[in-house]
């Protein structure tokens, strides 16, 4: 009798836990499916072309199920791309330098003090970054450049850069640490200076990890909604310089979704933006897999 109940229990838990694993697959597919279902309405129900959505800047969808508006999201896309690009441009050199400092120049200070500090900052909620950006950075930019408003691509870029700096730094540090020590010893043995070792031996060897870190940072920047929405100004126009306000995909979804009619053209167009964000994050994962697969350097994050 006891034997039998053990046997039964074994199968029960095996089944239950396998179901949980399957559920996660179903959940992910469901999210993808719902996004495709809601987002494709712009093209199927309302008959807009993908070309119009991606490249037209004429954005005036109708907030009803009649349709007939226009759904060119180019401004939002350009806003997203330019802010993330700027953020990456600012954050990457600093992150690489900080990562090199942590792993090559002063590993002791790095593991004791720098690393925990950086990891602490990965967890800071993005609204706090946004709020500080709004109350400190935006007025500072306004006064510094003598503008009417401080909301700008620059403000968004800086806020995002500070946000993704810890992400990139910790991934790149792991990558640099996983470069075998023999490489360094061999180079030093040949008389190379530390900078030569870093620049010519360590960094090329850590390249896949470095790119993975940068892409992870980019993914985080792309999906960030509220922090950017707070400082970008939400003005629907192409940015003329990095000091001009604009808007982006996530800010549009965050601010307009609540007020739009479910299933209307406006609502559907916003869903299409969400679908685009989803596809972009899939693309980032794909790129990371390609890089890691090619470089053959396995990341070891479990430690």
């Amino acid at each position: 009798m006891k034997e039998k109940s053990l046997f039964w229990k074994e199968h029960f838990w095996h089944g239950l836990i396998s179901c949980c694993g399957l559920f996660v697959i179903v959940l992910t597919l469901a999210i993808g499916a719902f996004l495709v279902y809601k987002g494709s309405g712009t093209f199927t129900t309302y008959g807009h072309s993908i070309f119009e959505f991606l490249f037209s800047s004429d954005w005036s969808p109708v907030d009803s199920s009649k349709g007939g508006g226009s759904v060119g999201a180019a401004i939002f896309i350009v806003g997203s791309v330019s802010t993330c690009g700027l953020a990456l441009l600012i954050a990457t050199p600093f992150s690489l330098a900080a990562a090199i400092f942590m792993s090559e120049i002063s590993p002791k200070l790095g593991t004791r003090f720098f690393r925990p500090a950086v990891e602490l900052f990965v967890g800071i909620p993005s609204v706090i970054y946004g709020w500080v950006g709004l109350t400190t950075l935006v007025p500072a930019i306004r006064d510094l450049f003598d503008l009417n408003v401080g909301y700008s691509v620059l403000a968004a870029g800086i806020v995002l850069a500070i946000m993704i700096f810890p992400t990139i730094t910790s991934v790149v540090t792991d990558a640099i640490k996983s470069v075998p020590n023999d490489y360094r010893k061999a180079a030093y043995g040949l008389g190379a200076t530390r900078w030569q070792v870093i620049y010519q031996i360590v960094m090329p060897a850590a390249k896949p990890g470095v790119f993975t870190g940068i892409i992870m940072g980019l993914a985080r920047a792309f999906g960030e909604a509220l922090a950017v929405a707070m400082v970008i100004g939400r003005m629907r126009a192409f940015p003329t310089s990095i000091l001009s306000p604009t808007t982006n995909l996530t800010a549009a979804i965050a601010s307009d979704m609540g007020g739009s009619m479910d299933g209307g053209e406006y609502n559907t167009a916003l869903w299409t933006m969400a679908l685009l964000l989803f596809l972009i994050s899939l693309l980032f994962i794909f790129i990371i897999h390609r890089i890691v697969g090619k470089g053959g350097v396995e990341k070891n994050e479990s430690k």
């Binding site: 719902f34 002063s106 500080v132 965050a254 979704m257």
Partner: protein
């Protein structure tokens, strides 16, 4: 020997650049934390802590309540998924696909998860904005973290644990339940605390699920009533959303002070959880290592 000299000089210059950059960023991070906390304290008035419409007590309560609800969903599912991946899954297409799914979930923009939650838990159910749907949306976000931590912890267990247990005649499930999971607990717990810390600050996913209003009557303990604090089906604005709201709906004159103070509280909460997870993880690990 000229090239040698030059290389040495470049080396020195680069070293200083790295030190300067690292120092600059540490200073920036410290300044950021001090700015947020300092401004919060500077604008602090006792009424801000009150559990009324003016204070942030209700929002703080909502935040904690939401974290608890979210963990109720994500912890069992996350641990089960981790156990499945580490113990039951056979290497193959399905397992590979599952790990890709987990990776996808972990890199989903939170606003997209928020929209999904809005569609499924609010529009399809036909409900009002409520805490449970917020908690469900957020648990989608921290599910991958808990699952990966569990899987990594289980896979790092010494082979001897499993062999010893099975050698004594325990079944696979008994081994998992009585030997492996308890041994992994410190690391899983650390992962859960880190996940909880993330929920505190989440705002984009809650925008259209938990809602932006809160109306609590602290003398009402009828759990079915929409003003009862413990009713999980009432709208509940969290601290992070409160900060966001003060940007968009700044109708009150003290909105900036409230947002400053909320930011400070939120930052301290997140830091406390993050440091707590670190200390706890280290202590439990030492205890286990000592007990061997």
């Amino acid at each position: 020997m000229k090239a040698n000299e030059k290389a040495k000089r470049v080396d020195r210059v680069m070293t200083w650049i790295f030190v300067a950059v690292a120092g600059f960023f540490i200073l920036l991070l410290i300044a950021f934390a001090l700015l947020v906390i300092g401004r919060g304290i500077a604008g602090f008035e006792p009424y801000m802590l009150s559990f009324t419409r003016d204070g942030i007590g209700n929002q703080l309560f909502n935040t904690v309540y939401l974290v608890v609800l979210a963990l109720l969903f994500s912890v069992p599912l996350g641990i089960a998924t981790g156990v499945y991946l580490a113990e039951y899954a056979k290497p193959g297409k399905v397992t590979h696909f599952l790990s890709i799914c987990i990776e996808t979930l972990s890199s989903l923009p939170s606003i997209v998860v928020g929209l999904f939650g809005y569609l499924v838990f609010i529009v399809m159910v036909g409900a009002q904005w409520n805490l449970v749907s917020g908690a469900l949306a957020v648990s989608i976000l921290n599910l991958p973290l808990i699952a990966t931590t569990t899987k990594d912890a289980m896979e790092s267990m010494p082979k001897g644990y499993r062999m010893g247990s099975m050698g004594l005649g325990a079944t696979h499930w008994q081994t998992i339940r009585r030997v492996l999971l308890p041994a992994c607990m410190p690391r899983i717990l650390t992962g859960i605390i880190l996940a909880a810390g993330r929920v505190f600050g989440e705002a984009a996913a809650l925008l259209y699920t938990a809602g932006m209003s809160t109306d609590i009557n602290w003398s009402n303990w009828d759990i079915t009533s929409p003003t009862c604090p413990l009713n999980p089906f009432r709208p509940g604005e969290t601290l992070a959303l409160h900060i966001w709201a003060s940007r968009t709906e700044a109708i009150r004159p003290d909105a900036a002070q409230i947002a400053n103070f909320s930011s400070a509280v939120l930052l301290i909460l997140v830091f406390a959880f993050s440091i707590g997870a670190r200390v706890l993880g280290r202590r439990m690990e030492r205890k286990l290592a000592g007990g061997k």
